[in-house]
Amino acid sequence: MTMTIAYPERSAVTPAGTVLTHTWYLTGRKLHALIRQPWVLAFSVIQPAIWLFLFGALFHKIIDIPGFAYGGSYLAYLVPGVVAMNAMSGNMWAGMSMIEEIERGTLNRFLVAPASRLAIMNATVVEQAVSTTVQTLIIVVLGYAGGARYPGGATGIVMLTLAAILVGVVWGSLSNMTGMLLRSREAIIGVYTFFMLPLMFLSSAFIQPSFMPGWMQAIAARNPLNWEVQIGRSVLSANPDWPAVAARCGGLLALAALCVAISVTTFRSYAKNV
Protein backbone atom coordinates (compact mmCIF):
# COMPACT_ATOMS: atom_id res chain seq x y z
CA MET A 1 0.00 0.00 0.00
CA THR A 2 1.23 3.44 -0.68
CA MET A 3 0.67 6.27 1.70
CA THR A 4 -0.51 9.58 0.39
CA ILE A 5 1.23 12.63 1.72
CA ALA A 6 0.15 16.18 1.16
CA TYR A 7 2.79 18.51 -0.20
CA PRO A 8 1.50 22.03 0.29
CA GLU A 9 4.14 23.83 -1.72
CA ARG A 10 3.66 21.72 -4.84
CA SER A 11 0.98 24.05 -6.05
CA ALA A 12 3.05 27.15 -5.39
CA VAL A 13 3.01 29.40 -8.42
CA THR A 14 6.22 30.61 -10.01
CA PRO A 15 6.26 34.42 -10.35
CA ALA A 16 5.16 35.55 -13.81
CA GLY A 17 8.47 37.34 -14.38
CA THR A 18 10.41 34.13 -13.83
CA VAL A 19 8.11 32.25 -16.20
CA LEU A 20 8.78 34.86 -18.87
CA THR A 21 12.56 35.01 -18.47
CA HIS A 22 12.83 31.23 -18.29
CA THR A 23 10.63 30.90 -21.38
CA TRP A 24 12.94 33.33 -23.13
CA TYR A 25 16.14 31.44 -22.25
CA LEU A 26 14.74 27.97 -22.83
CA THR A 27 13.23 29.02 -26.16
CA GLY A 28 16.57 30.55 -27.06
CA ARG A 29 18.19 27.19 -26.46
CA LYS A 30 15.75 25.45 -28.81
CA LEU A 31 15.97 28.06 -31.55
CA HIS A 32 19.75 28.03 -31.35
CA ALA A 33 19.71 24.33 -32.02
CA LEU A 34 17.29 24.91 -34.90
CA ILE A 35 19.52 27.56 -36.48
CA ARG A 36 22.52 25.26 -36.16
CA GLN A 37 20.74 22.57 -38.15
CA PRO A 38 18.77 24.45 -40.78
CA TRP A 39 18.85 21.38 -43.02
CA VAL A 40 16.56 19.61 -40.55
CA LEU A 41 13.86 22.19 -41.28
CA ALA A 42 14.52 22.13 -45.00
CA PHE A 43 14.55 18.35 -45.02
CA SER A 44 11.14 18.15 -43.42
CA VAL A 45 9.70 20.23 -46.25
CA ILE A 46 10.86 17.78 -48.90
CA GLN A 47 7.90 15.44 -48.47
CA PRO A 48 5.26 18.20 -48.64
CA ALA A 49 7.09 19.62 -51.67
CA ILE A 50 6.84 16.27 -53.41
CA TRP A 51 3.12 16.20 -52.75
CA LEU A 52 2.79 19.72 -54.00
CA PHE A 53 4.60 19.20 -57.30
CA LEU A 54 3.92 15.56 -58.13
CA PHE A 55 0.29 15.57 -57.02
CA GLY A 56 -0.13 18.98 -58.59
CA ALA A 57 1.23 17.77 -61.91
CA LEU A 58 -0.43 14.35 -61.84
CA PHE A 59 -3.92 15.67 -61.25
CA HIS A 60 -3.66 19.12 -62.82
CA LYS A 61 -6.67 18.42 -65.02
CA ILE A 62 -8.92 17.85 -62.00
CA ILE A 63 -9.53 21.54 -61.96
CA ASP A 64 -11.35 21.22 -65.28
CA ILE A 65 -14.03 18.88 -63.89
CA PRO A 66 -17.35 20.64 -64.25
CA GLY A 67 -18.37 21.99 -60.89
CA PHE A 68 -14.83 22.39 -59.50
CA ALA A 69 -15.34 25.87 -58.21
CA TYR A 70 -11.78 27.15 -58.01
CA GLY A 71 -10.30 30.04 -59.94
CA GLY A 72 -6.57 29.20 -60.00
CA SER A 73 -4.42 26.22 -60.95
CA TYR A 74 -4.62 22.86 -59.16
CA LEU A 75 -1.15 23.55 -57.72
CA ALA A 76 -2.52 26.74 -56.15
CA TYR A 77 -5.49 24.72 -54.89
CA LEU A 78 -3.07 22.28 -53.21
CA VAL A 79 -0.96 24.88 -51.37
CA PRO A 80 -3.21 25.22 -48.27
CA GLY A 81 -3.57 21.43 -48.13
CA VAL A 82 0.17 20.87 -48.26
CA VAL A 83 0.70 23.58 -45.64
CA ALA A 84 -1.72 21.74 -43.35
CA MET A 85 -0.04 18.43 -44.04
CA ASN A 86 3.35 19.89 -43.21
CA ALA A 87 2.05 21.46 -40.00
CA MET A 88 1.06 17.97 -38.96
CA SER A 89 4.03 15.93 -40.11
CA GLY A 90 6.61 18.50 -39.05
CA ASN A 91 5.33 18.69 -35.49
CA MET A 92 4.92 14.97 -35.18
CA TRP A 93 8.61 14.93 -34.26
CA ALA A 94 8.12 17.08 -31.16
CA GLY A 95 7.63 13.98 -29.05
CA MET A 96 10.87 12.52 -30.36
CA SER A 97 12.94 15.37 -29.02
CA MET A 98 11.00 15.09 -25.77
CA ILE A 99 12.01 11.44 -25.47
CA GLU A 100 15.56 12.34 -26.31
CA GLU A 101 15.68 14.99 -23.60
CA ILE A 102 14.25 12.53 -21.09
CA GLU A 103 16.76 9.87 -22.04
CA ARG A 104 19.70 12.23 -22.00
CA GLY A 105 18.73 13.56 -18.59
CA THR A 106 18.36 17.12 -19.88
CA LEU A 107 14.76 17.35 -18.75
CA ASN A 108 15.65 16.10 -15.28
CA ARG A 109 18.46 18.64 -15.10
CA PHE A 110 15.90 21.39 -15.62
CA LEU A 111 13.53 19.79 -13.13
CA VAL A 112 16.06 19.68 -10.29
CA ALA A 113 16.91 23.30 -11.04
CA PRO A 114 14.46 26.03 -9.99
CA ALA A 115 13.35 26.27 -13.63
CA SER A 116 9.77 27.28 -14.28
CA ARG A 117 7.83 24.18 -15.33
CA LEU A 118 5.51 26.22 -17.49
CA ALA A 119 8.48 27.81 -19.25
CA ILE A 120 9.82 24.39 -20.21
CA MET A 121 6.56 23.66 -22.01
CA ASN A 122 6.26 27.18 -23.42
CA ALA A 123 9.65 26.78 -25.04
CA THR A 124 8.54 23.71 -26.97
CA VAL A 125 5.34 25.43 -28.14
CA VAL A 126 7.22 28.52 -29.30
CA GLU A 127 9.75 26.36 -31.10
CA GLN A 128 6.94 24.53 -32.87
CA ALA A 129 5.40 27.84 -33.89
CA VAL A 130 8.66 29.17 -35.28
CA SER A 131 9.53 26.08 -37.27
CA THR A 132 5.97 25.79 -38.62
CA THR A 133 6.14 29.41 -39.76
CA VAL A 134 9.42 28.89 -41.59
CA GLN A 135 8.19 25.70 -43.26
CA THR A 136 4.87 27.28 -44.25
CA LEU A 137 6.66 30.19 -45.87
CA ILE A 138 8.96 27.81 -47.76
CA ILE A 139 5.91 25.99 -49.15
CA VAL A 140 4.25 29.27 -50.10
CA VAL A 141 7.39 30.33 -51.97
CA LEU A 142 7.72 26.93 -53.67
CA GLY A 143 4.09 27.16 -54.75
CA TYR A 144 4.68 30.61 -56.14
CA ALA A 145 7.71 29.35 -58.06
CA GLY A 146 5.49 26.61 -59.47
CA GLY A 147 3.00 29.15 -60.75
CA ALA A 148 0.52 29.42 -57.88
CA ARG A 149 -0.73 32.94 -57.21
CA TYR A 150 -2.22 34.22 -53.97
CA PRO A 151 -4.83 36.94 -54.53
CA GLY A 152 -5.27 37.20 -50.74
CA GLY A 153 -1.81 38.77 -50.55
CA ALA A 154 0.24 39.30 -47.40
CA THR A 155 -2.80 39.24 -45.10
CA GLY A 156 -3.76 35.90 -46.55
CA ILE A 157 -0.29 34.45 -46.07
CA VAL A 158 -0.15 35.69 -42.46
CA MET A 159 -3.55 34.12 -41.72
CA LEU A 160 -2.54 30.89 -43.46
CA THR A 161 0.57 30.77 -41.28
CA LEU A 162 -1.38 31.44 -38.08
CA ALA A 163 -3.78 28.61 -38.86
CA ALA A 164 -0.84 26.33 -39.60
CA ILE A 165 0.73 27.26 -36.25
CA LEU A 166 -2.48 26.30 -34.46
CA VAL A 167 -2.57 22.91 -36.16
CA GLY A 168 1.14 22.51 -35.46
CA VAL A 169 0.61 23.26 -31.77
CA VAL A 170 -2.24 20.73 -31.58
CA TRP A 171 -0.17 18.05 -33.21
CA GLY A 172 3.06 18.93 -31.37
CA SER A 173 1.34 18.88 -27.98
CA LEU A 174 -0.23 15.50 -28.65
CA SER A 175 3.10 14.17 -29.85
CA ASN A 176 4.81 15.49 -26.71
CA MET A 177 2.18 13.83 -24.59
CA THR A 178 2.63 10.53 -26.40
CA GLY A 179 6.39 10.82 -25.96
CA MET A 180 6.13 11.45 -22.22
CA LEU A 181 3.59 8.71 -21.62
CA LEU A 182 4.87 5.93 -23.86
CA ARG A 183 8.56 6.85 -24.16
CA SER A 184 8.68 5.08 -27.45
CA ARG A 185 9.65 6.56 -30.78
CA GLU A 186 7.99 3.71 -32.62
CA ALA A 187 4.70 4.46 -30.90
CA ILE A 188 4.86 8.09 -31.98
CA ILE A 189 5.62 7.20 -35.57
CA GLY A 190 2.91 4.55 -35.56
CA VAL A 191 0.19 6.70 -34.03
CA TYR A 192 0.83 9.72 -36.17
CA THR A 193 1.43 8.11 -39.53
CA PHE A 194 -1.75 6.14 -38.90
CA PHE A 195 -3.76 9.32 -38.45
CA MET A 196 -2.11 11.47 -41.04
CA LEU A 197 -3.31 10.13 -44.37
CA PRO A 198 -6.91 9.55 -43.31
CA LEU A 199 -7.09 13.07 -41.93
CA MET A 200 -5.67 14.42 -45.17
CA PHE A 201 -8.02 12.51 -47.42
CA LEU A 202 -10.99 13.36 -45.22
CA SER A 203 -10.36 17.01 -45.91
CA SER A 204 -10.59 19.35 -48.86
CA ALA A 205 -6.81 19.28 -49.25
CA PHE A 206 -6.95 17.51 -52.60
CA ILE A 207 -10.47 17.94 -53.84
CA GLN A 208 -13.46 20.00 -53.01
CA PRO A 209 -15.90 18.39 -50.57
CA SER A 210 -18.87 18.50 -52.94
CA PHE A 211 -17.19 15.73 -54.95
CA MET A 212 -16.95 13.49 -51.87
CA PRO A 213 -19.46 10.85 -50.82
CA GLY A 214 -21.85 12.13 -48.18
CA TRP A 215 -20.24 10.32 -45.26
CA MET A 216 -16.85 11.76 -46.14
CA GLN A 217 -18.31 15.23 -46.34
CA ALA A 218 -19.79 14.75 -42.89
CA ILE A 219 -16.46 13.73 -41.41
CA ALA A 220 -14.57 16.43 -43.26
CA ALA A 221 -16.82 19.11 -41.79
CA ARG A 222 -15.69 18.01 -38.31
CA ASN A 223 -12.05 17.44 -39.19
CA PRO A 224 -9.91 20.21 -37.64
CA LEU A 225 -7.32 19.68 -40.34
CA ASN A 226 -9.97 20.47 -42.90
CA TRP A 227 -10.80 23.66 -41.03
CA GLU A 228 -7.24 24.75 -41.52
CA VAL A 229 -7.28 23.87 -45.23
CA GLN A 230 -10.50 25.82 -45.65
CA ILE A 231 -9.15 28.79 -43.72
CA GLY A 232 -6.02 28.78 -45.86
CA ARG A 233 -7.87 28.52 -49.13
CA SER A 234 -10.28 31.25 -48.16
CA VAL A 235 -7.67 33.75 -46.96
CA LEU A 236 -5.49 33.20 -50.02
CA SER A 237 -8.43 33.89 -52.35
CA ALA A 238 -9.48 37.28 -53.66
CA ASN A 239 -12.59 37.42 -51.47
CA PRO A 240 -12.06 35.67 -48.13
CA ASP A 241 -15.18 34.62 -46.25
CA TRP A 242 -14.07 36.28 -43.02
CA PRO A 243 -16.94 35.14 -40.73
CA ALA A 244 -16.28 31.48 -41.69
CA VAL A 245 -12.52 32.00 -41.26
CA ALA A 246 -13.09 33.50 -37.82
CA ALA A 247 -15.34 30.63 -36.74
CA ARG A 248 -12.87 27.97 -37.87
CA CYS A 249 -9.91 29.84 -36.36
CA GLY A 250 -11.85 29.95 -33.11
CA GLY A 251 -12.36 26.21 -33.33
CA LEU A 252 -8.66 25.58 -33.95
CA LEU A 253 -7.68 27.96 -31.16
CA ALA A 254 -9.92 26.16 -28.68
CA LEU A 255 -8.54 22.81 -29.77
CA ALA A 256 -4.95 24.03 -29.51
CA ALA A 257 -5.60 25.40 -26.01
CA LEU A 258 -7.11 22.08 -24.99
CA CYS A 259 -4.17 20.08 -26.36
CA VAL A 260 -1.62 22.33 -24.69
CA ALA A 261 -3.50 21.98 -21.42
CA ILE A 262 -3.48 18.18 -21.72
CA SER A 263 0.20 18.19 -22.56
CA VAL A 264 1.03 20.49 -19.64
CA THR A 265 -0.95 18.25 -17.28
CA THR A 266 0.94 15.21 -18.52
CA PHE A 267 4.19 17.05 -18.04
CA ARG A 268 3.30 18.12 -14.53
CA SER A 269 2.52 14.60 -13.52
CA TYR A 270 5.80 13.46 -15.08
CA ALA A 271 7.69 16.19 -13.24
CA LYS A 272 6.09 15.39 -9.91
CA ASN A 273 7.37 11.89 -9.81
CA VAL A 274 10.17 10.96 -12.12
Binding site: H32, A33, T106, R109, V274
Partner: protein, 346 residues
Protein backbone atom coordinates in the same frame (compact mmCIF):
# COMPACT_ATOMS: atom_id res chain seq x y z
CA UNK B 1 24.96 20.68 11.75
CA UNK B 2 23.73 18.15 9.24
CA UNK B 3 23.33 18.89 5.54
CA UNK B 4 21.15 15.90 4.79
CA UNK B 5 18.79 14.16 7.16
CA UNK B 6 16.53 11.45 5.84
CA UNK B 7 14.36 9.24 7.99
CA UNK B 8 12.57 6.10 7.00
CA UNK B 9 12.50 6.73 3.27
CA UNK B 10 10.32 4.17 1.54
CA UNK B 11 9.63 3.85 -2.14
CA UNK B 12 8.32 1.13 -4.38
CA UNK B 13 7.73 0.96 -8.09
CA UNK B 14 5.48 -1.13 -10.26
CA UNK B 15 7.33 -4.32 -11.09
CA UNK B 16 9.11 -4.27 -14.44
CA UNK B 17 8.46 -6.84 -17.10
CA UNK B 18 4.73 -7.17 -17.52
CA UNK B 19 4.14 -3.64 -18.67
CA UNK B 20 4.86 -0.06 -17.78
CA UNK B 21 1.19 0.78 -17.86
CA UNK B 22 -1.04 1.48 -14.90
CA UNK B 23 -2.36 -2.05 -14.80
CA UNK B 24 0.32 -3.06 -12.30
CA UNK B 25 0.08 0.10 -10.26
CA UNK B 26 -2.71 -1.15 -8.07
CA UNK B 27 -0.59 -1.97 -5.04
CA UNK B 28 0.36 -5.39 -6.32
CA UNK B 29 3.45 -6.59 -8.12
CA UNK B 30 5.60 -3.79 -6.86
CA UNK B 31 9.31 -3.72 -6.35
CA UNK B 32 10.69 -2.15 -3.21
CA UNK B 33 13.46 0.30 -4.02
CA UNK B 34 13.78 1.85 -0.56
CA UNK B 35 12.83 0.06 2.60
CA UNK B 36 13.10 2.57 5.44
CA UNK B 37 16.38 4.20 4.55
CA UNK B 38 17.92 6.52 7.16
CA UNK B 39 20.72 8.87 6.30
CA UNK B 40 22.55 11.62 8.15
CA UNK B 41 25.24 13.54 6.34
CA UNK B 42 27.30 16.01 8.40
CA UNK B 43 27.98 19.36 6.74
CA UNK B 44 31.22 19.75 4.85
CA UNK B 45 31.84 16.06 4.34
CA UNK B 46 32.16 13.98 1.24
CA UNK B 47 29.73 11.21 1.94
CA UNK B 48 29.50 8.09 -0.20
CA UNK B 49 26.49 5.90 -0.68
CA UNK B 50 28.01 2.61 -1.62
CA UNK B 51 26.12 -0.33 -2.99
CA UNK B 52 25.54 -2.49 -6.02
CA UNK B 53 23.20 -1.63 -8.87
CA UNK B 54 19.64 -1.76 -7.68
CA UNK B 55 20.48 -1.12 -4.02
CA UNK B 56 18.45 2.10 -3.93
CA UNK B 57 21.16 4.72 -4.32
CA UNK B 58 19.72 6.58 -7.29
CA UNK B 59 16.21 6.45 -5.85
CA UNK B 60 17.58 8.07 -2.69
CA UNK B 61 19.24 10.79 -4.74
CA UNK B 62 16.07 11.32 -6.79
CA UNK B 63 14.06 11.86 -3.62
CA UNK B 64 16.61 14.15 -2.01
CA UNK B 65 16.83 16.23 -5.19
CA UNK B 66 13.01 16.65 -5.46
CA UNK B 67 12.66 14.49 -8.58
CA UNK B 68 10.81 11.63 -6.95
CA UNK B 69 8.49 11.48 -4.00
CA UNK B 70 8.82 8.79 -1.38
CA UNK B 71 5.88 6.65 -0.31
CA UNK B 72 6.88 7.42 3.25
CA UNK B 73 9.55 9.08 5.35
CA UNK B 74 11.01 12.55 5.70
CA UNK B 75 13.97 14.30 4.14
CA UNK B 76 15.71 17.59 4.85
CA UNK B 77 18.52 19.03 2.79
CA UNK B 78 20.41 22.01 4.16
CA UNK B 79 17.58 22.45 6.65
CA UNK B 80 14.86 22.56 3.99
CA UNK B 81 12.13 19.94 3.97
CA UNK B 82 12.44 18.70 0.38
CA UNK B 83 8.97 17.19 0.41
CA UNK B 84 7.16 20.27 1.66
CA UNK B 85 9.31 22.91 -0.01
CA UNK B 86 10.93 21.44 -3.10
CA UNK B 87 11.29 24.82 -4.79
CA UNK B 88 13.37 26.14 -1.90
CA UNK B 89 15.44 23.00 -1.80
CA UNK B 90 16.26 23.26 -5.50
CA UNK B 91 18.00 26.57 -5.00
CA UNK B 92 20.58 25.21 -2.59
CA UNK B 93 21.38 21.89 -4.22
CA UNK B 94 23.53 21.05 -7.19
CA UNK B 95 22.88 17.82 -9.02
CA UNK B 96 25.12 15.83 -11.31
CA UNK B 97 22.96 12.95 -12.43
CA UNK B 98 24.10 9.69 -13.84
CA UNK B 99 22.98 10.72 -17.29
CA UNK B 100 24.79 13.64 -18.72
CA UNK B 101 21.97 16.11 -19.12
CA UNK B 102 24.11 18.54 -21.09
CA UNK B 103 22.52 19.66 -24.35
CA UNK B 104 24.64 18.13 -27.12
CA UNK B 105 23.40 20.64 -29.69
CA UNK B 106 24.75 23.60 -27.74
CA UNK B 107 28.31 24.54 -26.80
CA UNK B 108 29.73 23.89 -23.36
CA UNK B 109 29.65 27.59 -22.62
CA UNK B 110 26.03 27.99 -23.72
CA UNK B 111 25.02 25.05 -21.54
CA UNK B 112 26.64 26.67 -18.52
CA UNK B 113 25.18 30.12 -19.14
CA UNK B 114 21.66 28.74 -19.58
CA UNK B 115 22.10 26.80 -16.35
CA UNK B 116 23.12 30.03 -14.64
CA UNK B 117 20.04 31.81 -15.99
CA UNK B 118 17.76 29.07 -14.69
CA UNK B 119 19.23 29.59 -11.24
CA UNK B 120 18.55 33.30 -11.47
CA UNK B 121 22.05 34.58 -12.25
CA UNK B 122 22.18 37.65 -14.47
CA UNK B 123 23.91 37.27 -17.81
CA UNK B 124 27.14 38.90 -16.72
CA UNK B 125 27.50 36.82 -13.57
CA UNK B 126 26.58 33.69 -15.50
CA UNK B 127 29.22 34.39 -18.16
CA UNK B 128 31.92 35.02 -15.57
CA UNK B 129 31.06 31.96 -13.59
CA UNK B 130 30.97 29.85 -16.77
CA UNK B 131 34.43 31.07 -17.77
CA UNK B 132 35.72 30.29 -14.29
CA UNK B 133 34.35 26.76 -14.32
CA UNK B 134 35.49 26.07 -17.88
CA UNK B 135 38.98 27.06 -16.82
CA UNK B 136 38.76 25.00 -13.66
CA UNK B 137 37.68 21.89 -15.55
CA UNK B 138 40.20 22.38 -18.38
CA UNK B 139 37.45 22.99 -20.92
CA UNK B 140 38.35 26.52 -21.97
CA UNK B 141 39.65 25.38 -25.36
CA UNK B 142 36.46 23.44 -26.01
CA UNK B 143 34.14 26.10 -24.60
CA UNK B 144 32.77 27.12 -27.99
CA UNK B 145 32.51 23.64 -29.39
CA UNK B 146 29.24 21.71 -29.49
CA UNK B 147 28.99 19.27 -26.59
CA UNK B 148 28.24 16.55 -29.13
CA UNK B 149 31.93 16.61 -30.07
CA UNK B 150 33.20 16.22 -26.49
CA UNK B 151 34.89 13.06 -25.26
CA UNK B 152 33.30 11.11 -22.42
CA UNK B 153 35.67 12.61 -19.87
CA UNK B 154 35.04 16.14 -21.12
CA UNK B 155 31.28 15.65 -20.99
CA UNK B 156 31.49 14.40 -17.43
CA UNK B 157 33.58 17.39 -16.40
CA UNK B 158 31.02 19.67 -18.01
CA UNK B 159 28.25 17.86 -16.10
CA UNK B 160 30.00 18.57 -12.82
CA UNK B 161 30.55 22.19 -13.87
CA UNK B 162 26.81 22.48 -14.63
CA UNK B 163 26.03 21.25 -11.14
CA UNK B 164 28.32 23.89 -9.65
CA UNK B 165 27.17 26.97 -11.61
CA UNK B 166 25.15 28.42 -8.75
CA UNK B 167 27.59 27.49 -5.97
CA UNK B 168 25.34 24.95 -4.28
CA UNK B 169 25.58 24.19 -0.60
CA UNK B 170 25.01 20.50 -1.17
CA UNK B 171 26.22 18.71 -4.28
CA UNK B 172 24.78 15.37 -5.38
CA UNK B 173 27.02 13.26 -7.59
CA UNK B 174 25.34 10.15 -8.92
CA UNK B 175 27.97 7.70 -10.15
CA UNK B 176 30.31 10.50 -11.21
CA UNK B 177 32.99 8.31 -12.76
CA UNK B 178 31.04 5.43 -14.27
CA UNK B 179 32.19 4.88 -17.81
CA UNK B 180 35.36 6.93 -17.46
CA UNK B 181 38.80 5.56 -18.21
CA UNK B 182 41.11 5.14 -15.18
CA UNK B 183 43.03 8.32 -15.94
CA UNK B 184 39.91 10.49 -16.17
CA UNK B 185 38.58 8.84 -13.06
CA UNK B 186 41.65 9.74 -11.02
CA UNK B 187 41.49 13.30 -12.34
CA UNK B 188 37.81 13.52 -11.40
CA UNK B 189 38.57 12.31 -7.88
CA UNK B 190 41.18 15.01 -7.42
CA UNK B 191 38.74 17.58 -8.75
CA UNK B 192 35.97 16.55 -6.38
CA UNK B 193 38.27 16.50 -3.37
CA UNK B 194 39.60 19.96 -4.19
CA UNK B 195 36.17 21.44 -4.81
CA UNK B 196 34.70 20.15 -1.62
CA UNK B 197 37.60 21.53 0.38
CA UNK B 198 37.64 24.94 -1.33
CA UNK B 199 33.94 25.66 -1.33
CA UNK B 200 33.10 23.87 1.93
CA UNK B 201 30.40 22.01 0.13
CA UNK B 202 28.74 18.91 1.36
CA UNK B 203 28.98 16.23 -1.29
CA UNK B 204 26.75 13.19 -1.46
CA UNK B 205 28.24 10.73 -3.85
CA UNK B 206 26.83 7.44 -5.00
CA UNK B 207 29.13 4.83 -6.35
CA UNK B 208 29.42 1.15 -6.93
CA UNK B 209 33.19 1.36 -6.95
CA UNK B 210 34.65 0.43 -3.58
CA UNK B 211 37.87 2.15 -4.47
CA UNK B 212 36.04 5.37 -5.23
CA UNK B 213 34.33 5.42 -1.84
CA UNK B 214 37.60 4.54 -0.13
CA UNK B 215 39.58 7.27 -1.89
CA UNK B 216 37.05 10.09 -1.79
CA UNK B 217 34.72 9.79 1.12
CA UNK B 218 35.15 11.01 4.68
CA UNK B 219 32.16 8.94 5.59
CA UNK B 220 30.17 6.29 3.84
CA UNK B 221 27.04 4.28 4.13
CA UNK B 222 26.62 0.85 2.63
CA UNK B 223 23.20 0.51 1.04
CA UNK B 224 21.73 -2.89 0.43
CA UNK B 225 18.19 -3.76 -0.59
CA UNK B 226 16.96 -0.25 0.11
CA UNK B 227 18.43 0.14 3.58
CA UNK B 228 21.62 1.43 5.11
CA UNK B 229 23.34 -1.61 6.58
CA UNK B 230 26.52 0.07 7.82
CA UNK B 231 27.73 3.62 8.23
CA UNK B 232 30.90 5.32 9.34
CA UNK B 233 34.34 6.51 8.30
CA UNK B 234 36.01 4.11 5.90
CA UNK B 235 38.94 3.47 8.25
CA UNK B 236 36.71 3.11 11.24
CA UNK B 237 34.55 0.57 9.42
CA UNK B 238 37.63 -1.38 8.47
CA UNK B 239 39.04 -1.25 11.98
CA UNK B 240 35.81 -2.54 13.42
CA UNK B 241 36.59 -5.71 11.61
CA UNK B 242 39.47 -6.48 13.89
CA UNK B 243 42.27 -8.58 12.56
CA UNK B 244 43.27 -9.89 9.18
CA UNK B 245 41.34 -11.62 6.48
CA UNK B 246 42.37 -15.06 5.38
CA UNK B 247 41.12 -15.93 1.95
CA UNK B 248 41.31 -19.46 0.67
CA UNK B 249 40.47 -20.75 -2.73
CA UNK B 250 39.14 -24.31 -2.69
CA UNK B 251 39.37 -26.91 -5.38
CA UNK B 252 36.27 -27.32 -7.50
CA UNK B 253 33.33 -29.32 -6.10
CA UNK B 254 34.26 -28.72 -2.46
CA UNK B 255 31.39 -29.29 -0.03
CA UNK B 256 30.54 -25.89 1.48
CA UNK B 257 29.03 -27.13 4.70
CA UNK B 258 31.83 -29.58 5.27
CA UNK B 259 34.40 -26.82 4.83
CA UNK B 260 32.49 -24.43 7.09
CA UNK B 261 32.33 -26.99 9.86
CA UNK B 262 36.01 -27.80 9.53
CA UNK B 263 37.05 -24.14 9.76
CA UNK B 264 34.67 -23.26 12.58
CA UNK B 265 36.55 -25.85 14.58
CA UNK B 266 39.82 -23.90 14.23
CA UNK B 267 40.07 -21.69 17.37
CA UNK B 268 42.25 -18.96 15.80
CA UNK B 269 39.67 -17.94 13.16
CA UNK B 270 36.10 -16.55 13.18
CA UNK B 271 33.47 -15.17 10.77
CA UNK B 272 33.89 -18.04 8.35
CA UNK B 273 32.11 -17.45 5.07
CA UNK B 274 32.08 -19.85 2.18
CA UNK B 275 30.87 -18.64 -1.19
CA UNK B 276 31.41 -21.18 -3.94
CA UNK B 277 35.11 -21.83 -4.12
CA UNK B 278 36.02 -18.76 -2.09
CA UNK B 279 36.37 -18.96 1.64
CA UNK B 280 37.08 -16.03 3.89
CA UNK B 281 37.70 -15.98 7.60
CA UNK B 282 38.97 -13.49 10.10
CA UNK B 283 41.84 -13.82 12.53
CA UNK B 284 43.68 -11.55 14.97
CA UNK B 285 46.95 -12.77 13.56
CA UNK B 286 46.36 -14.05 10.06
CA UNK B 287 49.83 -15.33 9.32
CA UNK B 288 49.93 -17.40 12.49
CA UNK B 289 46.53 -18.95 11.79
CA UNK B 290 47.28 -20.05 8.24
CA UNK B 291 48.96 -23.39 9.15
CA UNK B 292 46.01 -24.39 11.32
CA UNK B 293 43.54 -23.45 8.56
CA UNK B 294 45.42 -25.39 5.93
CA UNK B 295 45.71 -28.39 8.24
CA UNK B 296 41.97 -28.35 8.98
CA UNK B 297 41.13 -28.20 5.27
CA UNK B 298 43.55 -31.02 4.48
CA UNK B 299 41.98 -33.20 7.16
CA UNK B 300 38.52 -32.35 5.81
CA UNK B 301 39.67 -33.68 2.44
CA UNK B 302 39.50 -30.36 0.59
CA UNK B 303 43.07 -29.06 0.45
CA UNK B 304 43.38 -25.36 -0.39
CA UNK B 305 44.27 -24.33 -3.93
CA UNK B 306 45.62 -20.98 -2.76
CA UNK B 307 45.67 -18.85 0.36
CA UNK B 308 46.16 -15.14 0.99
CA UNK B 309 46.27 -12.98 4.11
CA UNK B 310 45.13 -9.37 3.86
CA UNK B 311 44.32 -6.35 5.97
CA UNK B 312 40.58 -5.65 5.95
CA UNK B 313 39.36 -3.70 2.93
CA UNK B 314 36.01 -2.10 2.25
CA UNK B 315 35.18 -5.26 0.39
CA UNK B 316 35.46 -7.09 3.71
CA UNK B 317 33.27 -4.48 5.37
CA UNK B 318 30.73 -5.02 2.66
CA UNK B 319 30.91 -8.77 3.07
CA UNK B 320 30.49 -8.47 6.79
CA UNK B 321 27.31 -6.38 6.59
CA UNK B 322 25.60 -7.85 3.58
CA UNK B 323 26.80 -11.44 3.74
CA UNK B 324 27.92 -11.18 0.13
CA UNK B 325 31.15 -10.32 -1.53
CA UNK B 326 30.92 -7.00 -3.32
CA UNK B 327 31.82 -8.33 -6.73
CA UNK B 328 29.16 -11.01 -6.44
CA UNK B 329 26.51 -8.58 -5.29
CA UNK B 330 27.09 -6.51 -8.38
CA UNK B 331 26.39 -9.53 -10.55
CA UNK B 332 23.08 -10.33 -8.98
CA UNK B 333 20.14 -10.02 -11.30
CA UNK B 334 19.05 -6.41 -11.05
CA UNK B 335 15.73 -7.30 -9.51
CA UNK B 336 15.06 -3.94 -7.98
CA UNK B 337 16.08 -1.93 -10.96
CA UNK B 338 13.40 0.35 -12.23
CA UNK B 339 11.91 0.01 -15.67
CA UNK B 340 12.54 3.66 -16.32
CA UNK B 341 14.64 5.17 -19.01
CA UNK B 342 15.92 7.76 -16.63
CA UNK B 343 17.74 5.37 -14.43
CA UNK B 344 20.66 3.08 -14.93
CA UNK B 345 21.23 1.86 -11.44
CA UNK B 346 19.26 2.20 -8.32
Amino acid sequence: MHSIEARGLAKSYPAPGKSQSKSTGNGKARVTALDGLDLTVPSGTIFALLGPNGAGKTTTVNILTTLARPDGGTARVNGVDVLAQPARARKVIGVVAQRSGADPTATGRENLILQGHLYGLDTRTAKNRAAELLEHFRLTDAARRLVRTYSGGMQRRLDVALGLMHRPKVLFLDEPTTGLDPESRTAMWQEITRLAAEDRMTVLLTTHYLEEADRLANRLAIVDHGRVVAEGEPDQLKQELKGDVIQVELPANADERHVTDALNAVPAVRDVLVAGRNVSARSDDGAAAVPAVLAALAIAGTPAASVTVARPSLDEVYLRYTGRRYSQAGEEPPATRRPQLTEVSG
